[in-house]
């Protein structure tokens, strides 16, 4: 049961990364994707784990353990996927961001 539907900017980045990575969304790949999306910002692995724990507590993502691989010293990965409340929250955030962009574009022009 989600405790809050609002998403912070970092949580939006993490959820977007999970969506784009599909079945390959786990700590390292999510961190790389978030780093790519956040462009100049430094993103630590620890911050990703904290955000993932929080999103899991809110009921936005579900995790499962993959099969162990030799490249990881025989250890499993914890993979993540979006749940329906997470998808809904991310769509709402994207819609809000789009509306904000539309309202400032006439004033600032191409601000990106």
């Amino acid at each position: 049961m989600p405790r809050s539907d609002s998403l912070g900017q970092f949580e939006q980045l993490v959820l977007t990364s999970i969506v784009t990575l599909g079945d390959d969304a786990y700590g390292v790949t999510i961190q790389k994707k978030v780093h790519e999306l956040a462009s100049s910002k430094t993103v630590t692995l620890g911050a990703i784990y904290v955000a993932l724990d929080r999103l899991e507590d809110k009921g936005f993502v579900t995790s499962w353990l993959s099969e162990p691989t030799a490249a990881r010293g025989g250890r499993a990965k914890r993979c993540y996927r979006l749940d329906a409340p997470g998808e809904r929250a991310l769509k709402e955030s994207l819609a809000t961001a789009r509306r904000m962009a539309m309202s400032v574009t006439p004033i600032w022009g191409d601000y990106a």
Binding site: Y26, G27, V28, T44, L45, G46, A47, Y49, V50, D53, R54, D57, L65, S66, E67, P68, T69, A70, A71, R72, G73, G74, R75, A76, K77, R78
Partner: protein
């Protein structure tokens, strides 16, 4: 474990140090992620990068997992609802939290004793030494007799998982009265020594005696409470196994 030399691995001692600091519920996945990142760096900077990754990751993971452990219920709520895997993981996290608290408090007690120990021997030094011995005993019981927390293996069938969880709980119930007496005796002897030789004032006698008794009562009570809680979980596991 599928360890092989074909893949780049961080030094075992470094991994062991990081593993010691990580809660069991995320130990396997975090160590795996750190190893992947270790292999991505240039050979000359791997070590530094691994240490930097560990330093930035471990405190945040510990904080997050500790918050989750306490949010999901108190440390005494192991018998709460939940599937078998999450119960097993919760149990291991509780063991990890308990051991960490004991280790930190033992270091704290040793620090207080060392700060107090300069110059002549005084009343308060007897108290802190007795307390330190008590905490060393409690920490020893936690780490050596009961053992460290372990990660719950990923690929276990329900039956194997039940057996694993049961074995782990029984391991935590291993502390008997003998281990308790071994570590309470030096503190008691020290108390007697302080009473006879060092403390002429009867009011101080009582204070010292109360401090030692209180410490041992707290330790014995926590053992008793834990044992009751573990016993309930073992009964629940047996019941579930019979129903299955």
């Amino acid at each position: 474990m599928l360890r092989t030399t074909l893949y780049v691995e961080p030094p075992r001692w470094l991994e062991a140090a990081v593993s010691f600091l990580l809660p069991p519920s995320c130990r396997e996945t975090v160590l795996g992620d750190l190893q992947e990142r270790f292999a991505e760096h240039a050979p000359s900077t791997r070590w530094l990068a691994y240490v930097a990754d560990a330093v930035t990751t471990v405190p945040q993971v510990v904080q997050s997992r500790t918050r989750r452990t306490f949010n999901r219920g108190s440390l005494c709520a192991i018998s709460a609802s939940g599937d078998l895997r999450s119960r097993a993981e919760q149990h291991q996290t509780q063991v990890w939290v308990r051991n960490a608290i004991l280790l930190v408090s033992m270091v704290f007690m040793i620090g207080i004793f060392l700060l107090n120990s300069g110059g002549d021997w005084h009343f308060h030094e007897s108290v802190t030494l007795a307390m330190t011995i008590g905490w060393i005993g409690a920490t020893w019981r936690s780490y050596v007799v009961r053992g460290r927390s372990t990660s719950v293996p990923a690929s276990l069938s329900l039956r194997e998982l039940r057996a694993f969880h049961r074995r782990e709980i029984l391991r935590q119930m291993k502390v008997g009265y003998r281990e308790f007496i071994y570590w309470s005796t030096p503190a008691a002897l020290l108390t007697l020594y302080a009473l006879v030789a060092e403390v002429p004032d009867s009011r101080r006698w009582m204070l010292l005696l109360c401090a030692i008794v209180l410490q041992n009562v707290v330790i014995a009570w926590s053992h008793w409470m834990e044992r009751k809680r573990y016993q309930r979980e073992v009964e629940r596991l047996d019941r579930e196994a019979a129903e299955a």
